[in-house]
Subunit: 427 residues, 2 copies
Amino acid sequence: MAQAADYRILHEADLRDYLAGLPDLKALLGGEPASWEITEVGDGNLNLVFIVKGAKGGVAVKQALPYVRLVGESWPLPLSRAHYEYLALSRQAQLAPGLVPALLHHNDKLALTVMELLEPHIIMRKGLVAATQYPGFVDDITTFMARTLFFTSDLALPAAEKKEAIAAFAGNHALCKITEDLIFTDPYRIAEQNRWTAPHLDGLAANLRDDMELHVAISRLKLKFMASPEALLHGDLHTGSIMVTENQTRVIDPEFAFYGPMGFDVGAVLANLLMAYFASAGHERTQGERAAFEVWVLETVDKVWNEFARKFLDLWRTGPTGDAYPTSLFTGDKGALRLEAERQAYMQRLFTDTVGFAAAKTIRRIFGLAHNIDFELIEDPWRRAISEARAVRLARGMMVEAAAFRTIADVTGAARKVRDWQPELTG
Amino acid sequence: MAQAADYRILHEADLRDYLAGLPDLKALLGGEPASWEITEVGDGNLNLVFIVKGAKGGVAVKQALPYVRLVGESWPLPLSRAHYEYLALSRQAQLAPGLVPALLHHNDKLALTVMELLEPHIIMRKGLVAATQYPGFVDDITTFMARTLFFTSDLALPAAEKKEAIAAFAGNHALCKITEDLIFTDPYRIAEQNRWTAPHLDGLAANLRDDMELHVAISRLKLKFMASPEALLHGDLHTGSIMVTENQTRVIDPEFAFYGPMGFDVGAVLANLLMAYFASAGHERTQGERAAFEVWVLETVDKVWNEFARKFLDLWRTGPTGDAYPTSLFTGDKGALRLEAERQAYMQRLFTDTVGFAAAKTIRRIFGLAHNIDFELIEDPWRRAISEARAVRLARGMMVEAAAFRTIADVTGAARKVRDWQPELTG
């Protein structure tokens, strides 16, 4: 765990000296330390991120700050999150090799991690705003999710190992609390940090605060988030935590990692693709210019769920058997058939969770503290509000009637219908 | 945690010296240590239990053995269970004062705990075999369950505290594993340690092993047991873990304590009362001589659920608010009404869990390793098998169609119907 006494923020000069003292990294960077080019690039909400380039190579350095960068020292946040991020990244690297940045160095006391420099990868969300299609994304992200979720679940692990793993991440509760507040609570009540496209969405925001069916649904999801340690989650798996080229995908920033409900990770990916879809109309300069992108995004939503489910089921059928659903209780043809039916039922329950969590991840981006550039970069507030209202309309249905969406095609079908709906806005 | 190096089994002479070295206990017992009367009385499956009586008072001493007493050194079991038992007992004493034995001394290295001597309390199961009614039991056990479960749940705790508490008990997985194997797996497959009233129940045992609907149901319950840390459970709350007089109730032996699904504790109490009910016919010497007892037992089943639910709901309405179901989302009359409806829905889900877990606790006592004297003391194997078959018939329905039992009256009504059913037995 990070100890405040040994911690210091490494600014550029300190960082240069620190890296120069690590022979492997010094060799990797190459040339004289004085010649290394160091740039602070952190555009996230919480940390310092440096890119360091030497004569031979480059690295990315991430250091946690003892407070929320977005807000300042008034909102302290434990440095230990760097420890949990490192733990999660190590586990993900074992389980989904090549889909997370390579780990080069970690210092718990400094809450600092050095990783492979991802070049020429960009944050996927930026690519989506630019209507870029990523043909390798479905395969990569579904492999990442299926493998990290299955292999850390009771389906694959002995119960003792699973309990120890839950305990190993239990201390990351300050990061969980951010999610509990900002995703599952604040958007549905008056909270200082909330914001939305105003006055256009004022009416919608008021409806949200008054919608008791929605409050019950979000509260059930919150309870599930807090008390269903099904698997090791990334915990913040939106398109801003994914770096891509056309053919490569790297999942970054698992500092929110903990044992939680699988649908939270899967729902995060789906929600952020759906938001890219609804935002797309707002980025059009001429009508229909992004039509092919929009078709691709919705196809991607379909495929992300379907491929994830296929791979997860495949691992369950052929991978290691944990203490859940012991194979000795499902012998013979009859047992095999019944177990397969139960696997399908399990996936259906997971899909219902996923639909609900996707809805929660959408609403928080429109009415809560942290917004996303999919919507934020739509300059005209009317057009932005129209895109946002459509996303909220779909999300409200997904949250309150999650179980009515039986397949992912039900979700994308509903999204298509909402795409051309003209909301009544305020102001 | 217990360290093997510092551990030694305290036999009578060692124990006398050890207690003599503890001034408070020495004073409590009174007189010369040489005059203390020390008796080993452990009739449980796992530990040594001594009763020590001096000139002035007595104490009970429990020491964990590094193996399962029932089986011997071939089945090792961590001494750390004494640590978790002590942790649980301390928490229960805070939450349900007067309903657990007073803690007098604990030594983690020796895996030893000294407690108040409960006199003239007897193990409740023995009383039930003797058709004794306990008028104070409903009120006491429902207070114990409502308070220990509510106050350790997300309904009452901040999420951070809850996660730390889960982690504090995560190391007790060896005891959880016993439950996972002996309750949720072995009775449904061929396992060396299984036993049942043979040959009379051979056919029923074979049906159980072949019943894939039941295997799915027990596997879902097992998964819930492993991955739903709703509250701090006693973990073994049968009528052998409860000591009673007519007016006093003390819950003992929480060494299986961990964070799990609430229905497991509530179901344990109901199952053991239902088994006492079905066993009762087997203890009759003349027809109807235990009729009043049987009426009382079924009334007690009804009241245990109803009073538990009433007290739990009352705590939820008036007690501390944890991070689940934040009151700020349920303001005004409309919010209050909707939250109350959700509380009822929550209790309905908990009832369904309870019904399923009660069934699991029943079947394991008839086909698994650990049986209970309710049935075992019925000498005539035919009569014993008839009682057992009735209990299994009810339990099978409760497990496979748990949600069809909407109220506890549905359970006791079904029990009454099965009471006079004549099963077809083998042999």
